[in-house]
């Protein structure tokens, strides 16, 4: 199932029309049913997996105070299911946005379940109506490709739910924006431009060709993923829900820590809250927390050596950056605005290239191939 298709647009239109035509009290139920019908129609097996995880989540958290052992068991089981599928499916060909061989939306769905279980365990979320939880987990705009929105915000949106013309029009705008990003910027401009440039350079200039491939990968990945998020956020707005943003100009950030706060925000904030938070609460070590978190993010994409390396590459970069901040305190800050501006631009470019290189590396099948990309960039022909 492609989300850049006329049939998905048809679903969006049909679900939105029926949703608003119904009486308010039936709308939540309808959204759940629409999601169930869609998954049942495209992939009945996925429906079984997601329903099982939903049942597990609701049963594990049904009491007012969720015992620690049960929360651990439940989160463990969800992680096992997710990891089991990731291992069974094996490496994916491209770092695409939809892992179609997996049960539909499982990567995102599992994280929402874990979020709910942990929040119930810590007591930050009070036990609520089961229908609200199912509606949250089976929310059609975000179930398949995120953002990994949060239950408290969703429940508040349910409580505040009303027809809002301005929000609806924002939704339409956002969907058009998303499709334009994917189709015009990504599929047409970036792909064609890369091809033209690569052909113009010729086969001998290996370093330049690799560099173009790196830039193209970085740019296209962003427009594709941000575009899909736009469609999901826009669809949610058509239904009167505000879903968290997923990107905040990530390629304009001056350091790797800021990049990770602006890239795939719903995933990174999830990982910060539940992976980093847990590791740091247990060990009191921010460095270990950062590396573990980024490795977990890497393995969430795919359980493989290349993603493990990619996660560690980013995790260690954050540790280094944090150490640099400590050293920086001892140095005098530049007074000139021009110097500060130039340093900022340099920092942005450095961060950008570090991230893009990471994206190019993780597309290689193994660490050996990763290394040869680096060698080509350094010693190949420009």
């Amino acid at each position: 199932m492609s989300f850049v298709s006329v049939s998905w647009l048809g679903w969006i239109a049909a679900v939105t029309a029926v949703f608003w035509a119904l009486q308010a009290r039936f709308r939540t139920l309808f959204l759940i049913l629409a999601t169930l019908v869609f998954i049942g129609w495209t992939d009945p097996l996925s429906l079984g997996v997601l329903a099982a995880l939903t049942g597990l989540t609701i049963v594990a958290t049904r009491e007012r105070a969720v015992p620690g052992w049960r929360a651990v068991l439940c989160v463990g089981a969800i992680v096992a299911v997710l990891a089991g599928f990731k291992i069974a499916v094996g490496p994916i060909d491209d770092a695409g946005v939809a892992d179609l061989a997996m049960p539909l939306g499982l990567s995102y769905y599992a994280l929402r379940c874990i979020h709910y279980v942990i929040e119930r365990y810590t007591g930050r979320i009070a036990a609520g109506p089961g229908l609200d939880v199912v509606a949250f987990l089976f929310f059609i705009p975000t179930i398949f490709i995120g953002p990994i929105h949060r239950f408290p915000e969703f429940r508040r949106d349910l409580a505040r739910h009303r027809w809002d013309e301005a929000l609806f029009s924002e939704g339409v705008e956002r969907i058009i924006h998303g499709y334009a990003r994917i189709v015009i910027l990504g599929n047409f401009l970036i792909v064609n431009l890369t091809e033209t440039l690569t052909q113009a350079l010729g086969p001998d200039r290996t370093a330049a060709v690799t560099y173009i491939a790196m830039v193209s990968t970085g740019l296209n990945l962003y427009v594709q993923f941000a575009g899909h998020s736009d469609i999901a956020i826009g669809f949610a707005r058509l239904l009167g829900f505000r879903v968290m943003e997923n990107f905040d100009r990530p390629y304009l950030k001056p350091n790797i820590s800021a990049f990770w706060r602006a890239w795939h925000i719903s995933l990174t904030s999830w990982a910060r809250d539940y992976v980093y938070g847990s590791v740091v609460a247990l060990t009191r070590s921010p460095a270990l927390g950062a590396v573990t978190t980024l490795v977990a993010i890497g393995l969430w994409h795919e359980i493989s050596l290349r993603y493990l390396v990619w996660g560690a590459y980013h995790g260690l970069a954050i540790v280094v950056w944090q150490q640099v901040q400590v050293w920086k305190r001892a140095l005098p800050a530049p007074r000139s605005t021009a110097v500060r501006g130039a340093l900022h631009v340099l920092a942005v470019l450095l961060t950008l290239h570090f991230v893009w290189l990471g994206f190019l590396l993780v597309r290689q099948p193994d660490p050996g191939a990763m290394w040869s990309v680096v060698v080509t960039l350094v010693s190949g022909g420009w």
Binding site: G123, R124, P129, A159, S278, P286
Partner: protein
């Protein structure tokens, strides 16, 4: 329809809205005009069957907003007098108030009847129990068909009642409503409001607030207070609009109440200054609560509104706040600062509407603008008097003028500022508390030899109630015993915030307690609690970890509201707390810290006290 009955239009308005199938009550209760009309007519039938005639009193006390709304409107259109009492009254209070009002019929919450066995023994009038229509169901519960219930309680029993026509002979002077304002068990005082006074108030409110059939009023105030009852179901029925009842306001429920204002696109919010102070502490994601074009204004009533809070609320929520002044004795409101620009003067209660006003000195002479004196009011909206209490009535009502007991100054532009209180009364969170009531109740407690109650300023509540007592010889553990005694006699709404046991009360030459001296003694006697010190310690550590000034932080501070609070500095904050308090917080507690208040709670759970902190 009688031309003399000023409330005669009510029935017709309800009928017209029933024909349009409009909603009448939303929020916690749910009732549409067609149901309302039907239930009112059948309730009139029930009242007639119970022998309640024109002018007879019907005592109503229930937490069921829909039931109280229907009963009140049914009593009014039946020509009877509604007496609305606090459903959480203590058993002792309920018995005394029921006996005092001598009702022809009582409609009380089933729970209240069960709690107050003496009630059914002490009154001879028919007693009807109010209970919800059917058990509330959550989630998928609506898929299950409710079991048939035996209609022994109101409103279920209305199914067997015949509808009855409204009373057409009621006159303007007939008593319509009676509300208890003070007294509890010792000397209850009830304000009697005529049909004419009610109608006069409604006319002003509908006009002034710009109400029409599209209006949606959110009003969370209780029905045994005039602003809940008369600016709730009655005002909605008079304007043909909807009243939304969100349930009682607490720090925990306030967010949900504002969400309801947003979701239902409310046009008016009727609230009190304490709630506005609570709103000021909410995170910024509530700022858009009043952003819809249908919203007109927030009405602040039943207590003095701090000018800074007024300005802050208007600026932050981009909504106009109309500050109103009134008493139960004026039905509801008498002076309004807004919504028009001319009377919307911050720091004042604006100008009178529906009333004439004068400010008099102690000799009874009217004082000029800029001079302080007692605020006097005259108009069609005044009460008839206190129920069967000519002495108390004569003390405040003479020649058609009501002495409000409030000291006021009229500004140059005709707006009035309330500058003090002549009467001995404390307003805590918009509930009027009479010190004499507490003093009397306290003195009845074994172990207490003397008692005097004072109000102390409080940022959130407006005033705190402090009860100062002296103990009889040999009395021990007096504070706990006395608090328990008061809980049973005066009820939760009037309990003091603090009881201070003193060696002696300060008396003046005439034998009266010197209140100003008592305030000084109470301030000196009230020690800072350990919790306050703990809060300060946590804020100090947060300030150091996040690089902020302590004054910028409070228990409500979050990562969103505090610059410098990120995952790294947060860890430093936790480490600092653990070092300072010599504890190790559990991972569950560390992960649950969203606000500084959570850190305080987490530390308190470990049994840590600020006194035990390592400095």
């Amino acid at each position: 329809m009688s031309e003399t009955d000023p409330l005669g239009e009510l029935e017709a308005t309800i009928a017209a809205r029933a024909a349009a199938k409009a909603p009448f009550m939303g929020g916690r209760a749910s009732l549409a005009y067609p149901q309302l009309r039907e239930r009112i007519a059948r309730t009139r039938g029930l009242l007639a069957r119970l022998g309640v005639g024109r002018g007879a009193r019907v005592l109503i006390a229930s937490e069921d907003d829909a039931a109280v709304g229907v009963l009140y409107l049914a009593a009014l259109t039946h020509g009877a007098t509604a007496v609305v009492m606090d459903p959480n009254a203590t058993p002792a209070e309920a018995v005394v108030l029921a006996a005092r009002s001598r009702p022809a019929a009582l409609f009380l919450d089933d729970m209240l009847i069960r709690r107050t066995e003496a009630l059914s023994r002490s009154v001879e009038a028919p007693l009807v129990a109010i209970a919800p229509d059917r058990p509330a169901r959550a989630g998928l519960g609506f898929l299950i068909r409710p079991k048939a219930t035996v209609p022994a309680t109101y409103p279920a029993l209305l199914g067997d009642e015949m509808a009855a026509e409204p009373e057409r002979e009621a006159a303007a002077d007939d008593p319509a409503l009676m509300l208890f304002t003070s007294g509890t068990t010792s000397k209850p005082k009830a304000v009697v409001i005529s049909r004419g006074a009610l109608a006069a108030q409604l006319e002003v409110l509908v006009r002034r607030f710009g109400l029409d059939t599209r209006s949606r009023i959110v009003n969370h105030l209780p029905f045994h207070h005039t602003d809940g009852l008369n600016q709730g179901p009655l005002l909605a029925a008079a304007a043909g609009c909807e009243v939304i009842r969100p349930g009682a306001v607490t720090i925990q429920s306030l967010g949900a109440i504002l969400d309801l204002v947003y979701q239902r696109r409310a046009s008016h919010l009727v609230t009190v200054p304490t709630v506005l102070a609570m709103m000021a502490r909410l995170p910024s994601d509530y700022d858009d609560t009043f952003s819809h074009p249908e919203f007109r204004f927030i009405e602040s009533t039943a207590g003095p509104l701090d000018p800074a809070l007024w300005r802050e609320t208007e600026a932050r929520f981009a909504a106009r706040v109309v500050n109103c002044y009134g008493l139960t004795e004026t039905v509801s409101e008498a002076l309004y600062a807004g919504p028009d620009d001319a009377s919307h003067r911050i720091g004042t209660v604006g100008r009178p509407d529906g009333f004439e006003m004068r400010i008099r000195d102690d000799a009874g002479a009217t004082v000029g603008r800029g001079k302080t004196g007692e605020l006097m009011l005259r108009g069609a909206g005044l009460m008839s008097g206190y129920f069967e209490d000519p002495e108390a009535t004569a003390a405040v009502l003479a020649d058609g003028w009501l002495a409000t007991g409030d000291l006021a100054v009229e500004d140059e532009d005709g707006c009035v500022r309330i500058v003090g209180r002549k009467k001995n009364m404390i307003i805590r969170a918009s509930v009027n508390i009479y010190p004499e009531d507490l003093d009397t109740a306290a003195r009845a407690c074994p172990g207490v030899s003397a008692a005097a109650t004072i109000g102390m300023p409080d940022e959130m509540l407006g005033e705190r109630v402090i009860l100062c007592v002296t103990a009889r010889q040999g009395a021990t553990g007096l504070q706990d015993t006395l608090m328990e005694h008061l809980r049973e006699t005066v009820g939760a709404e009037r309990l003091p915030n603090e009881i201070i046991v003193l060696d002696a009360l300060p008396y003046g030459p005439s034998g009266k307690v010197l209140l100003s001296e008592l305030r000084t003694m109470a301030s000196a006697a009230g020690p800072a609690t350990a919790g306050e010190t703990m809060t300060e310690a946590v804020i100090a550590e947060a300030a150091a970890a996040f690089g902020r000034r302590a004054a910028e932080l409070g228990p409500e501070s979050t990562a969103e509201s505090t610059a410098g609070w990120d995952s790294l500095t947060f860890l430093e904050f936790v480490t600092r707390l653990e070092r300072r308090f010599a504890v190790r917080l559990a991972p569950r507690d560390v992960m649950a810290i969203d606000r500084l208040g959570d850190a305080i709670a987490a530390l308190e759970r470990t049994g840590t006290t600020a006194a035990g902190a390592l400095q």
